[in-house]
Amino acid sequence: MTRRKISILFILLGIGIAFSLPQFVQSNYVLRIAVASGLFILLASAHNILMKVGQLSLGPVAFYGLGAYVSAILSTRYGVPFVICFLAAGVSAAVAGWIIGRLTLKLRIAYFVLVTIGFAEFFRLVALNWTAMTNGPMGITAIPAPALWFKGYAMYYYFILFLVLIVLFGLYRLENSTIGRAMQAIRENEVLGQSVGIDSYRYMMLAAVLSSFIIGIAGSFYAHFFQFLGPEILSFELTITIVVMVIAGGRATLAGPVLGAILFTIIPELLRAATVWRMVIYGALLVTIMLFMPDGIMPSLVSVYQKLRNRFRPAGEPSDLRTTLEIFDTMPQNTGCRQEQFAVSTERCDKEEICKEASLIVEDLCVYFGGVHAVEHVSLSVYPGEILAIIGPNGAGKTTLLNAITRLGPITSGMVHYLGEELNALKAHETAHRHIVRTFQHTSVFPNLTTYRNMVLAHNALEPTGLVTNVFRTSGWHDAEQEIRRRADEILEFTNLKQYVDCVASSLPYGAQRLLEMGIALVADPNLLLLDEPAAGMNPTEVEALMELILRIKKMGITVVLVEHDMKLVMGISDRVAVINYGELLAEGTPEEICQDDKVIQAYLGRCFDDAQTL
C-alpha cells in the first residue's frame, strides 16, 4: 500500500468514528468534550493559517470574541435569525482581521506577537466596560439555540463536525495549491519569495482574513452553544490554549493543530483527577513538550514513523527523504512529458546575438544610506542577449545596485527603466512579474524543503490561481499544476540537479545549493537574470560548470547581469564588463578593454589576471 492510500484509510476511519460517536456514547459529558474539541480544531486550524505565513499571533481571541459578541447581540437584542448572525460573525471578524492586518502585517516576529496581544486585550477591556452593549462582566444570557429543533448535544456535535470537515477540506486543498505554496515560500524565505514574484503582503493578508473569518464563525457557534457569553472568551488564557494546540501539535502542518486540539482538550479533562495540581502539571507538560518536541507532536510522530519505515524497508528501495510537510502531498505524479524546450518569450531576442537597443537602462542612479553614498550617479545600459559583468572591490556598491534594480533596496534618486517601463515605483515582487529575477550573494534557497519543492514554489509566483480555483479544483487547475511540474522537471534537468530531487535543500553540498538558487531563478521565467556573486566559495571545477551553465542560459536568450569577483569567470564569459568603485562607474567595455584600463588596474585588478598567471 502506498503512503497515500494509508493516509486516506486513516482519514476515512477517523471520519467514520467521528460520525458514529453519538451512537455509542450517550454521556453528555463526553459529547460536550467532543464539541469543545471540534471548536478547538476550528480555532487551532484557523490560527495555524497565520503560522503558514510564518506569523505568530497572540490575539486570536479578539476575532473569537468579536464573532461571538456580534452573533449574540444580533440574536438577543434584534432577534436576527441564526444563519444571518452566523455569517455576520464571520464577516465582521474577517473585516476586523483585514483592518488589523493592514495596521500590523508590516511588523515581524516579536513585534507582531506583542501588537496582537495588545489588540486582544483592548477588545477584552471594551467587552468588559461597554456595559450598554455587552452587559459587561455579567455577560449576555439566554442566547437562543441555532434553531428550535436543536435539542441535545448530539445536534451541536454534528453541526461542529460538519464545520470542521469543511474547513479541513478547504485547508487541505489550499496546502497543495499555488496559494499554499506561496505561503510556504514566505515562511521559508520571504525575500527569496519576493524576488521570484510572490507578493508576501497579499498572501499574509489573505491568511489573516481567512483565519479571522473561520475564528469568527467559531465564535458564533460558541455563543449559541453555551447560550451565555461573558468577557472570559477574550482572556489571554484562551489564546494560550489555542497557541499551545497549534505549536505543540505541529505548526504549519495540516494534521498538527487537529491532533493538538484533541489532545489539549482531553488532557486537562483527564488531569481533573489531579485536582489542584492540574494546571501545574499542564504547565510542566508544556515545557517538556517544547524541550523534547520543539517542532510539535505530529512532526515527531511522522519522523518516528519514517525512521521505522526506513529501518524495515526492503533493500534497494530508496529511503524516505521527503519532509514531513509533504506527507499528505497528493499532487499528480510527474508524467515526464517534455515535448518542447522552454518557450522563449517574445521580448527576448530570437537570435544568439546581442540586440542593439538596451532593455534595462539605469540612469543617474544614486543610493544613499544616511551619509554613506553606496551608489553615486551610475548610468548603465544592458542589452538583450548579452552577459554584462559588474566588478569592483568589496563595498563598491555592486549589490546595492542590484538591490535597487530589483527593488529590494531603496533608490535615492535616478531612474531605472526596463523595456520602456519605469521600475522605480514597483515593489520587489512586481519586478519578477516583469521577468527580472535575481539570485543572492549569500546562498538563498527555501532551506527546509526538497529541491523539487524549491523549484515548484518558485514557479507558482508567476501565474497565481485564485482561492476558488484551488479549493474546488475547477477546470484549468490540473493543467496549471501539470505545467508547473513539467517546468520544474525541465529546470532540474537543465541545472543538473536531478540527483538531488528529493533531498532537503539545506543538506545539499554548497555548490549544488548555488545551482539550486539559479534553478529557482530560472523557474521564475526570467528575461533578465541578475546573479550576485554566483561563484563565491566554489571550487575551480564547480566554477567551470557554472560558466558552462551561464553560457547555456545566455543561449536560451536570457540576458545575464553578473556581479562577480572570480576574474576567470568574468573574463571568460562576459560580453561587456562594468567596473564600479566607491559607488561610481569607473569604466565600461569589453573584457579586453577593461584589462588594459589603467584606472581599473589601479583600483581593483592590480595586474590583470592573464599576466598574473603567466608570471
Binding site: 516579536a110 513585534y111 495588545g118 486585550e121 477591556l125 497557541v243 501545574v280 504547565g283 510542566a284
Partner: protein, 290 residues
C-alpha cells in the same frame, strides 16, 4: 493642581517599577531573543518571597528583600540552563511557549503553596505622611521610587563600566562576532536572564507592601512590562526606562481624570499606537545598551 501633582507622583512611583520590569525584559529580549512570558511570575514570586521571609518569618524587610533577590538570581540561572539554553537554536515561538508553560507552572504552584486569597505583607516603614508643599509622600513610596532608580542606575553602571558589562553589550550588538572575540555568550545569556529574573523579583518585593499579594498578580504586570518594552523599542534600555515612567504617569492620570475601568487599557493602546506609528519605539532606532 495639588491633585494633579499627587497623581503625577503616584504615577512616577508605579512607573519606576514598570521601568524596572521593563529593563529586565528588554535586555532578555535584546540579548537572548526571547519573549519572556514568565517575567510577571518572577515579580509575583518576589512578592511572595518577601511575604514569606518578612511577614511570616519576621526577618527585617531589607534583608528579606536581599535574600529573595539572591535566591531569584540562582533561580533565573537554573531556568536559563535547564529550559532556555537547550532551545536557543529553535524558532522564537518555541522558547516563548516554553516560558508560557513555565509561567502557568509557577503561578499554579504559587496557588497551591500560598492559596488564592490576597494577602498583606504589612508595612515595613512607619505610616506617616510627609507633606511637601501641596502633596503628601509616604516613606514607603519614597523608598520604592528611590530603590527602583538606584537599581536602574546600578544596572546601567554595571553595563557601562565593568568588563562583563562590556561583554554583554558586545553580545547585544552581534552575538557571533562576540563569540569569535572569545566572549562566552552562554554565560552572557545566563547572567542576563538571572539578573532580569532577580530584578523582577525585587520589583515584586518593593511593590508588595503597597498592594496585596496573590498568585495571579503577575499576569497584568507582565502585560504592562511588554507594553513598556515595545513602547521603548525592543531591546532599548533607556527607552524602557522612559516608557515605564510614562506609562505609570499616564495610567495614574488616566485613572484619576478619565475612568479607572479603562486604566489597564492605556498600556495596550500604547502598544498599538507605538507599534503602528513608530515601530522602533519612542526613542527611535538607536540600538544601544546601558
Amino acid at each position: 493642581m495639588a491633585e494633579f501633582l499627587q497623581h503625577l507622583i503616584n504615577g512616577l512611583m508605579i512607573g519606576g517599577i514598570y521601568a524596572l520590569m521593563g529593563i529586565g525584559l528588554t535586555l532578555i529580549f535584546g540579548i537572548m531573543n526571547i519573549v519572556n512570558f514568565s517575567h510577571g511570575e518572577f515579580y509575583m514570586l518576589g512578592a511572595f518571597g518577601v511575604l514569606t521571609l518578612f511577614t511570616m518569618m519576621g526577618i527585617p524587610y531589607l534583608l528579606a528583600l536581599l535574600l529573595s533577590a539572591v535566591f531569584f538570581l540562582l533561580f533565573g540561572a537554573v531556568v536559563e540552563r535547564g529550559i532556555l539554553r537547550p532551545l536557543q537554536n529553535q524558532p522564537v515561538d518555541v522558547a516563548m511557549l516554553a516560558t508560557i508553560g513555565l509561567s502557568i507552572f509557577l503561578s499554579n504552584l504559587a496557588l497551591i503553596i500560598w492559596d488564592p486569597t490576597p494577602k498583606d505583607i504589612g508595612m515595613p516603614f512607619p505610616l506617616i505622611g510627609i507633606n511637601v508643599g501641596p502633596i503628601t509622600l509616604t516613606p514607603i513610596r519614597v523608598f520604592i521610587f528611590v530603590a527602583a532608580m538606584l537599581l536602574i542606575l546600578g544596572s546601567h553602571m554595571f553595563l557601562r563600566n565593568t568588563r562583563f558589562g562590556k561583554a554583554i553589550r558586545a553580545t547585544f550588538q552581534d552575538r557571533e562576532a562576540a563569540a569569535l572575540m572569545g566572549i562566552n555568550t552562554n554565560t552572557v545569556n545566563m547572567v542576563t536572564f538571572s539578573w532580569g529574573t532577580s530584578i523582577a523579583a525585587i520589583a515584586g518585593g518593593l511593590l508588595g507592601p503597597i498592594f496585596q499579594v496573590f498568585p495571579t498578580m503577575g499576569a497584568i504586570v507582565s502585560a504592562k512590562s511588554f507594553a513598556v518594552v515595545i513602547a521603548g523599542g525592543l531591546g532599548n534600555f533607556p527607552g524602557a526606562i522612559l516608557a515605564g515612567l510614562l506609562l505609570g504617569v499616564a495610567e495614574s492620570l488616566g485613572a484619576g481624570y478619565i475612568s479607572s475601568g479603562y486604566r489597564d487599557a492605556i498600556a495596550f493602546i500604547l502598544i498599538i499606537v507605538v507599534l503602528i506609528v513608530r515601530p522602533t519605539g519612542i526613542l527611535g532606532k538607536a540600538r544601544r545598551l546601558g
